[in-house]
Homo-oligomer: 115 residues x 2
DNA sequence: CCGTAATAATACCAAAAGGTATCATTTATA
DNA sequence: TATAAATGATACCTTTTGGTATTATTACGG
């Protein structure tokens, strides 16, 4: 398995996938509709959609012979949570307050050695 | 080259690199000090540090024969900016599509029904 | 100076990523 | 019921990634 955070960051690492998210922000789309936005095969786009789904950045909804791809909040939230946590921690560092280290330790069980 | 956002997301995609950032949040470290925190060779850790530097998540400061690695705000900001932009735009979509979502959603979802 | 600590630079490897091409399966529809 | 549309499933290929091991180079200390 993969932590929520790991799945999300992995999915966000590819520029095509971030673009797909933007397109899906405009409207839900079938695989074919997403593919039309890119200069690559449907197979490639489908793989990207699978990785986005694994990262809980989208949810997929079969409808007849189509598969509707829709933004889902969980993945984005997982990544945003990590960044926000890190930012707080960063701000404290800048303010010379080192007390966040305890919180870091407490959270490390969620984020070590997966992938 | 790479966009700031791409460099940052690429660097954040690896769990070891995210852990390195956490460690550097506690204090600046030389390559050897960072390596001591992980069960891998210095060469491997150094590669991770290079990618973190390319993503502007850390800055590197030679001091004598050592290389001090230190958190840098630019990379985190690039990723956070993208996510925040995406989130705003996501919030708008959620409001607009609520009824359509309710028609089809048979499972899961923490986004549900906050009317 | 000499030894050694810290890092740099390569060469190499296995696995994962990102892509194509092809064929099979399911579902609308004329 | 054919047939085409949409997707599923594989097989395959190349490049990137994450790692090791080994050999320089650089700088500090006695």
């Amino acid at each position: 398995m993969m932590s929520a955070e790991q799945g999300a960051f992995r999915a966000l690492a590819d520029p095509t996938r971030r673009q797909i998210l933007m397109h899906l922000g405009a409207s839900d789309m079938t695989i074919a509709e997403v593919s039309d936005q890119f200069d690559m095969t449907r197979g490639a786009v489908r793989k990207h959609l699978t990785i986005l789904e694994e990262g809980n950045l989208i949810s997929v909804h079969p409808r007849g012979r189509e598969r509707i791809n829709r933004l889902a909040p969980d993945g984005i939230r997982a990544a945003a949570d990590w960044l926000n946590y890190f930012n707080r921690f960063w701000d404290e560092k800048l303010g010379a307050l080192q007390t966040a280290i305890e919180n870091q330790q407490a959270n490390e069980s969620d984020q070590d050695n997966e992938q």
